[in-house]
């Protein structure tokens, strides 16, 4: 029987962008409700077991409270729930460890609550296990905004084989950043900033922006990738990436006003815009600074470090929610004859 993994890390979406850019805060109880709604979709499509990342931020407490109550009352049925056996560090490391264990267990897919950062961490450890993002993070360029019930339905249809693979899953690009022997990935964007320390991680000081590499950029996107989206849009499925050389405003011939974070619309100085070809090695345009991966500073580098950036095509799989639901509609997967419905009700 196919299991689905669920990663809902309570530490996601708590960073300094609440101060510098009015980013939102999704309360713990709402996160638990999102998991519950998504699980109703899984149950309705035949997924009877889920395995969840343990945490002690309150999601589990709320989740089990509701499931126990609903089981007693018999109103709503949820899949059987188990939790991974792993220590809880209350950091993003929990998401990474959970992704690794879920991959090892062979779950059919991993549903990830979070934004670009949390999805990035999961993809870095989940191998070829497909993921489905439920947008609850700070910056949500990668996970699409969608009612989680629908995500649950689509994931259920995909992992139970009701929707064939060619419709159920999509391949995605990613960027790989290397500093000496350390390799990290980004799903949407790699920004090179001149600050050479990690600190509070988020980036918002535009004067420090030097380079931007993206896998895609939509004109209606949010975050650093919106810079590409507003200059030279690029689709998720396009076989290439984009690079924009960013300049201090006073030296730039072109200035762009872009929503670089939720609630933060800033002017950035634009230099050259270039195509990024898969598997070619690119170097940052400054010799020292930090790499911000999907909006957060993660790696620092200086003149003595060996660094590179590389676009990887077809690097990981996601559940293609719109296609799954479209296939289900075309093939009547959610319909049945009235006589069958009557037999089910009588049994």
């Amino acid at each position: 029987m196919t299991k689905v993994g669920i990663i809902a890390n309570p530490v996601s979406a708590r960073d300094i962008r609440r101060i510098v850019s009015h980013a939102g805060n999704l309360p713990i109880n709402d996160r638990a409700n999102i998991v519950l709604r998504m699980m109703t979709g899984l149950m309705a499509t035949g997924v009877e077991e889920v395995v969840i990342m343990p945490e002690n931020g309150g999601i589990r407490t709320q989740l089990m409270r509701v499931i126990d109550r609903e089981n007693r009352m018999g109103h709503v049925r949820f899949p059987r729930v188990s939790y991974l056996d792993m220590p809880v560090t209350c950091t993003s490391e929990d998401s990474a460890e959970a992704a690794r264990q879920m991959h090892d267990q062979g779950v059919g897919a991993i549903v990830v609550l979070g934004g670009d950062g949390t999805n990035r961490v999961v993809v870095s450890k989940c191998g070829n296990t497909p993921i489905a993002g439920v947008s609850t993070g700070t910056n949500n360029a990668f996970p699409e905004l969608r009612e989680p019930t629908i995500t649950g339905l689509a994931v259920g249809l995909a992992v139970t084989g009701q929707v064939p693979c060619e419709h159920a899953f999509a391949y995605n690009k990613r960027l790989e950043v290397r500093v000496n022997d350390q390799r990290e990935i980004a799903l949407v964007d790699v920004a090179v900033v001149s600050e050479r320390f990690i600190g509070a991680r988020a980036i918002w000081k535009t004067a420090n922006f030097r380079d931007l590499f993206v896998t895609f950029g939509r004109p209606d996107g949010i975050g650093m990738s919106s810079i590409v989206g507003l200059l030279a849009p690029l689709d998720r499925q396009a076989p290439e990436g984009r690079r924009v050389r960013l300049l201090p405003l006073e030296t730039a011939n072109l200035r762009l006003t872009a929503p670089i974070a939720p609630g933060l619309i800033e002017e950035v100085g634009i230099g050259a815009i270039e195509k990024v070809v898969p598997n070619e090695v690119y170097l940052p345009s400054v010799s020292a600074g930090s790499f911000a991966l999907d909006g957060e500073r993660e790696l620092t580098f200086s003149e003595i470090d060996d660094v590179s950036i590389r676009l990887q095509a077809d690097a990981f799989r996601t559940v293609n929610v719109p296609d799954c639901m479209a296939y289900a509609a075309r093939h009547g997967l959610h319909t049945r004859a009235a006589s069958e419905a009557l037999r089910t009700a009588q049994s």
Binding site: P10, V11, R14, D15, I16, R18, I19, V20, H22, N25, P27, I28, N29, N56, G57, G58, I59, T61, Q62, C90, T91, E195, R196, F197, I198, G199, A200, R201, A288, T300, S302, E303
Partner: protein, 326 residues
């Protein structure tokens, strides 16, 4: 190599000096209390230094803080005299509060330290008052209260957050989350589980930061303090941190996992993390930091010696310092 940090070299040395002073102060109290040299009770801040210092490096004397029962670190980080503190904890007349306050009531208004506090959640209304005073007087002072997850359930904290929000006070609510509310689990005692969620309920922003990383706290606190000074209103800042010792001295710590304390000391020590970052970046070297270590050790030794040699308060002192004239 250029300095990548948001502090000049002098600032980095000062941050390390304050953190190291807190560490050695607490390590010494752990020993002296165990020997029975110290009256009363002590709750130690060792392991949590990056949070207190990361915040206090942004403050001036006219900024006011209200601390908790675990207040030594806040006092030192805010600039309270270390020898006066040690004498106070020893209950001597030369102490910060003339030996009548002890560990849980150290205060020094000249440094903006409104007091450690034995009552959970009692600091929050105090800083609302300090923040209101700054707002009315028209200066840029801020009020910062520190509290833990247990105190977050106190009505005083919730009422203060509401007051700070509706009056847009330059008040900052710092949750020091060391993972343990004495011996009561968060799951049992805190209905919303997330402190940041509570801020949301009052319409104020709340953020979480790694309290073992001085630079993470420093950068986040800088934005929070700046926001308050500029009239942006209150903020909640949750620092996730490590407590090296028990809730109180004598706590058997049966709630900890086997090897947890050793792992914390080895891998999550905020002073070690700081030292590694600044030396690897080539901004400070080990000799400079070792020199501070030696200075601090001498200071603590002197503080203890002077405290032990100092006189006790007399019975007549009981009737002084009861009321203050404004």
């Amino acid at each position: 190599m250029s300095n990548p940090f948001p502090l000049e070299k002098d600032g980095l040395l000062e941050a390390y000096r304050r953190m190291k002073t807190i560490r050695e102060f607490e390590e010494r109290l752990h020993v002296d209390f165990g020997r029975g040299d110290i009256p009363g009770f002590v709750h130690l801040y060792a392991g949590e230094e990056a949070a207190g210092v990361g915040i206090m490096m942004h403050l001036q004397d006219h900024d006011r803080i209200a601390s908790t029962h675990r207040g030594h670190g806040h006092c030192i980080a805010k600039g309270v005299d270390v020898k006066g503190m040690m004498a106070e904890i020893y209950g001597k007349a030369t102490g910060s509060c003339a030996g009548k306050g002890g560990s849980m009531h150290i205060a020094d208004l000249s440094k903006g330290m409104m007091g450690a506090n034995g009552i959970l959640g009692a600091g929050a209304p105090l800083v609302c008052g300090a923040a209101l005073a700054a707002q009315k007087l028209g200066h840029d002072g801020v009020g910062i209260t520190f509290f833990g997850d247990g105190a977050s359930n106190q009505g005083t904290v919730l009422e203060s957050m509401n007051l700070a929000a509706i009056w847009n006070l330059p008040a900052i609510f710092v949750v020091e989350n060391n993972g343990y509310a004495e011996s009561t689990s968060v799951d049992y005692a805190v209905a919303s589980d997330s402190y940041v969620d509570r801020a949301t309920g009052f319409g104020m922003p709340g953020i979480t930061v790694d309290g073992t990383d001085f630079f993470a706290v420093y950068e986040a606190a800088g934005e929070v303090v700046k926001r308050a000074r500029e009239g942006g209103g209150p903020t909640l800042l949750e620092c996730k941190m490590i407590r090296f010792f028990g809730h109180f001295e004598g706590d058997a710590q049966t709630y900890r996992a086997p090897g947890e304390n050793e792992d914390n000391r080895k891998n999550r020590d905020c002073l070690k993390i700081f030292r590694a970052k600044v030396t690897e970046a080539g901004v400070l070297n080990d000799a400079e930091l070792d020199a501070i270590d030696a200075e601090v050790m001498t200071l603590i030794e002197d503080a203890v010696a002077e405290a032990k040699a100092a006189p006790l308060p007399t019975p007549a002192d009981l009737t002084t310092d009861v009321y203050v004239s404004y």
